[in-house]
Symmetry: C2
Subunit: 303 residues, 2 copies
């Protein structure tokens, strides 16, 4: 089944549009995991990252449709971290979760093909085994076409950066030429590239990243890309709230997934959970934070 | 010594402005290496990639200032490829070459910091050990600032995508707003970020990627970013010639390095070298192709 339909099925099965971002950071790991790290070697930290992510996956596997490991934090450990990333992706896949690798990769021509072949294709269909990858559009249409091709071959999907959630994102993305901003141009391109590739759910493989911090643009982007799944970062720690993401969904409650990383995986640090669960029961804090986010989104999204 | 000055010193020491792109591809490896691959496992291919790149490094170490491993081709092998990438980077560094990892990475805030910490810092100063990294600007100024900070801390440099060499690069990069294109805006940003960071050679850590396939823009970009080293891809296999890159250099023959990947590393496939060296003496084809490129550039660039 193609990626768009698998994502729709996962949302409907779990009744959730939450994507859990797996962003392991040394300083924020629960003490019980941090203290188990044998030494300062990359291998030791990589083992801790793997354990941390696997335990989160065990907690959320039946209550969210997908997880989004952030490649940068694994790469920060060097090659050992990249081994851990592969282990985490395969573990999540084995537990029935869809995996969006957040790598913001891209290049030109055959190099773009190499990235697509590296990351796209669940399970044994690619070296890393993820269902989807985030992709940067700066290099233009011919840098995206190789991803379209591999998506077709391997029933995968991508999420292309359109309008990002950071304050400085507008510097290039908001520049307007003949009434159309850069990010609107990217959105139009995604709609072109989805042509002829629409699944039963009404969406295609070329998804978009649109930040929760820009609610008005999210409404406009939903209209401009009626066949693109939207990955919405910026919820929770970055300030986005449930009302802000409403515009990303269609009338059936499909078409978007909302990512939260720190607010879920480091929930044991949040005031509301710290006292109740403490560091020792950090997994329960993860579960409570995920359920809380599902409820917040559930009030507006009827799946 | 900061990266900009080290690059200037390496150019002056070698009398070369050639950057050798390390883009290993299974199908194009010399038969002697391809046939030595024990099985189809990623580990076996990764060992072949490492051997191939190390032999190239041995050939070019005294005749070029820098090499540019393309991360995508290593990532295509999965975790085993990323181990190989680290080995290749450290081997090149050990042979006195500057290493520009071509990863076109970026993200926002603390995630950008993770990429910067992962790749920037030669030798033991970072997990991957490269002197420099290519970076995508789509996420704006606050996505570049973490790289500036790590460059300062680790005497490293970056090359930010400004005007790329591919035909479709213009889709976003050439869009003009109030008389300034997107790529001109990125160039202006690099000049701002280099302020207060200029080395003795006259350049700072924030370099730019400007393709050889757009000679006029290269001249304009040289003027717009007088303190940015320019990495010029697109020479050779992509069609750029010596005259096309002239505009990237200052009057002292500094300010740019010109990358060639396929035309050098797969020189044994080129008609002019195939007969003379054949597949068995592929290293001599690499040497001949590198010397040829040095000579082509040497006629215009007085170092």
């Amino acid at each position: 089944m193609n990626f768009a339909d698998r994502l729709a099925a996962a949302v409907q099965r779990t009744g959730s549009v939450t994507c859990v971002g797996l962003d392991p950071r040394k300083a924020q790991l629960p003490a019980v995991i941090r203290n188990s790290v044998a030494d300062e070697s990359a291998d030791a930290w990589a083992a801790a990252y793997t354990q941390f992510c696997k335990e989160i996956i065990d907690v959320v596997k039946d209550i969210v449709p997908c997880v989004k490991p952030q490649a940068a934090f694994f790469e920060q450990l060097g090659p050992a971290g990249m081994v851990a990333l592969g282990q985490v992706i395969r573990y999540a896949h084995g537990k029935g979760l869809l995996v969006i690798t957040d790598g913001k990769r891209n290049d030109i021509g055959s190099t773009a093909t190499a990235y697509a072949q590296a990351y796209l294709g669940a399970g044994d269909r690619s070296p890393w085994g993820s269902d989807s990858l985030t992709v940067s559009p700066y290099l233009g249409q011919d840098s995206l076409e190789p991803f379209v091709k591999i998506c077709d071959q391997r029933e995968a999907g991508v999420f292309v950066l359109v309008k990002t959630s950071n304050p400085g994102g507008g510097l290039l993305q908001d520049r307007e030429t003949d009434g159309q901003t850069v990010y609107q141009r990217v959105a139009a391109l995604l709609t072109e590239l989805n042509q002829g590739r629409i699944g039963e759910c009404g969406y295609g493989p070329m998804g978009a990243v649109v930040g929760a911090t820009y609610p008005e643009q999210l409404v406009a982007m939903r209209a401009a890309m009626p066949q693109s799944w939207i990955l919405i970062p910026g919820f929770g720690a970055q300030g986005g709230a449930a009302d802000d993401v409403l515009g990303g969904f269609d009338s059936k409650g499909l078409g978007a997934v909302v990512n939260s990383s720190r607010h879920i995986i480091f929930a044991h640090e949040r005031e509301e959970f710290r006292e109740k669960y403490g560091d020792a029961q950090w997994q329960q804090a993860v579960e409570a934070a995920t359920n809380q986010m599902n409820q917040q989104l559930g009030t507006i999204v009827k799946v």
